[in-house]
Symmetry: D2
Subunit: 269 residues, 4 copies
């Protein structure tokens, strides 16, 4: 069997007395000198974070940290109720909701924007083509529309403002704005650029690969979910959620007939 090439890692090492994250000494170069956001950017992206990196990533993390009693928060609260011995499992259950339905759109949106920025077509031609193709295939256009925020998701213009104030080139922001115009023209009404669309654009501006974008949503939401656990400890909701669901999504199978025939009065009171 041929000798396999052994992979290596460049994220961390240690001696008896020191720890290194990538090429920096954790204790002497990092702790007390940089924020968590700066440290994670350097660690994930393997580069010295710029001011624009930090400003944009901080804004993105804030925008994605919380959105109330979403599926992720409900999964976390229920799981914490079921297994309070394992806070980490409750957060993990919530994070498993950071999937394609709500957050994966970020990646697909950023791929469209890249196509517009890097392609040879004029941007508005590309935008019209992309919208037409999605409509022809009855596919949702990732990054557009929000069932709660109308006419506009307020997070998006703020992300663009922060990015521009920090001197990004603006190609991806312009691309999504051109795409947005093409969307509105095609549908004959205004659809907002939502927070995942806005995030896709600003993360593209600082060179975050689409395949890693979801990671920032995971980190942001982890913090939000810890807040939900802290609140659940003070004001439990899990039992109420369970009762609500059992009452409002009732059993409707054939066994009901047997039960009614028996005059049996059916549970929980």
């Amino acid at each position: 069997m041929a000798e396999k090439i052994k992979p290596t890692q460049k994220l961390a090492t240690h001696t008896l007395t020191d720890l290194y994250y990538r090429d920096q000494n954790l204790v002497t170069d990092m702790m007390g000198k940089m924020s968590f956001t700066e440290a994670m950017i350097g660690h994930i992206l393997n580069r010295t974070p710029t001011a624009a990196d930090v400003a944009i990533i901080d804004a993105v993390l804030l925008a994605l940290m919380e959105h109330g009693l979403t599926p992720s928060a409900v999964a976390t609260r229920l799981t914490y109720h079921s297994a309070p011995e394992a806070l980490q499992a409750a957060v993990a259950a919530g994070l498993l909701n950071v999937g394609s339905t709500f957050v994966g759109t970020m990646e697909n949106c950023s791929k469209l924007l890249r196509e517009m920025v890097e392609g040879t077509e004029p941007m508005d031609t590309a935008a019209k083509r992309i919208v037409a193709e999605h409509r022809a295939q009855r596919k949702h256009l990732p990054g557009f529309g929000h069932h709660l925020h109308k006419p506009d998701d307020p997070r998006t213009p703020k992300l663009f403002e922060i990015a521009r104030a920090n001197g990004v080139r603006g190609d991806y922001i312009r691309a999504i704005e051109v795409l947005s115009q093409a969307v509105d023209d095609s549908f004959g009404k205004h659809l907002t650029i939502n927070a995942t669309g806005g995030t896709a654009a600003v993360l593209s501006e600082i060179g975050i690969p689409p395949e890693i974008m979801r990671g920032f949503a995971v980190i942001a939401r982890a913090a939000g979910l810890v807040a939900h656990i802290a609140e659940e400890r003070e004001v439990p909701t899990a039992r109420t959620i369970w009762d609500l669901v059992e009452e409002e999504i009732p059993y409707a199978g054939n066994a009901l007939e047997d039960i009614l025939d028996d005059g049996n009065d059916g549970g929980d009171d």
Copy 2:
């Protein structure tokens, strides 16, 4: 059935045009004005973060973000290899390792410190009693010792330095230092205060309840695990890890005899 009291939540709300995290408008009060660390402190702890809060939490998050190819990182890398469609699941698999063995010690340590700070015994009497009790029950003293960092885990004095520079009262830091002296006296050799012990002390200084402490380890490690995924995409290790484990932890059951009797040469080459 008596009317149940409906619980409420105070973490987030929204209108058509605005989002609020607790009592602040996300877009006008928070984004562009505060770091992710500040935002998470306010959100989790329901208070306006002080400079000490931010300095200490940033330092703690850095200290806990990464420690190389630990069980959490290995679980994340393997899971990402198995299911690259679900980055969130790979992070979740890693976070399920933020359990009692490595991180839960933080909570137990902080409970001992609270006993020393809030109790009526003189601190050094309490320390001697706690050490004696743990030794009598052959229980590990949480927050002490580290198999890699000798004589001292360098993260701990740095955490204390940052906390003191930011004007904390210092009761919990003093408690763990008194406890450390009792440990060394009892064992007749020096055991380091490790990073979970140091973290327990500084998080206690700013009033983080023990039951929530693990949450900061989860948030920190989420960022570290995203970095492991980013590296795994560039330099895959999962297949190597699998091969290593299969080779070095071989099958040793009775079926081997059948296989050898058959002259069958056993797989994978």
Copy 3:
């Protein structure tokens, strides 16, 4: 560095043409010849399953497979809605609910039963002492009471009937029945032996260690959760659950005042 002793595993091996589970050839000795239940018993417990093993484990798996829209099922349905690309993650989110609150009681109950069976006290003396101790410490007695099933959880007598029909010695069943009498005497009313109590007794009868018992609940519930996903695909409930929770657990923080002052009408319609 001293040579470390390498651990081995005895669960599986393979040649180019054969697979072995423990000491059996999967294809020639197992597939087509045994049920999944038989195979898992042999695999987990490392013994040839008896008829009693199979009858009892089958009954336990059925009893624990499903209980309607419990926290585990709700977590699974929400997660499937959020990440339909990863069915495995939806099941995992649900399984994270198989924790100490609902299922861990099985382990604690079985430890009490072992104390009664293996101890030197007469069984009824031990039972009275255990009940008294739990009441004195205001601790819930694991395995007793159920908020839905009154006067008796019907699964428990059926588990005992199946176990006895299959010739178990009956020491643990007798122990829990003696304990049940002591509970009723102490409380002056009847509390049912619930399904986790019944399961603890019958799994103890066939020698399942308490630390592994929860594993059978995990396997059983995995099947139930796949059924919930299959139904969710036909009759989606996740969006309804989300709406219910947002409506019934409303925001009650201070930001409401700002919102009302603005005459802003608050979302989602």
Copy 4:
């Protein structure tokens, strides 16, 4: 706001004294009368299981339960070491590995088979077209090839034998055999139909929708992972795995130079 239609569920209900799974009384109709496999088929597929259903699903569950120290087993063992208080979390971490790389191929394979069985092309024409298309796009053909089992994965012919002995029509088995011939002709060498390919065919024979197939892999593997936990309790491997990985996948970043310059001897001995 228009009245929303409330969804219902048909999986379970209960009265004070009875539980129903779908339309059957758990205690009087199911426990003691059917195996776990029969119960899960009825529950997931909403039909009375046939003998063929039970034989095929049992064989599939056995075939997918275990494959040694795979990524799923390693993730489970590491997580159990990190958080022994939460067995369910260790199983969940392993199950998160039942993703597209190893098991998702089952779904894609079954879609190709359906295309061959339900389409208007002659089967061998369809087979040649499918192989040609995959080769042109350099896409792996799902269900074919196995790095450990050569020339043939022994599980596949056994699955087909069991299915045929139980009187299935055989359309999907024939389809994958025709596809296999086209694969061999195109590549000029034999590639095995692997266990996921074989499973796809036999589950299609009994009408399991592709989107649910992965669920049976999850249930099967849950049992295998509980066995890994049981063994890990007796013969711990997690620490060895950690050491192996740290040693064999070393740090190779720039910090090494600083460390060497300092004459610092680098950790863990």
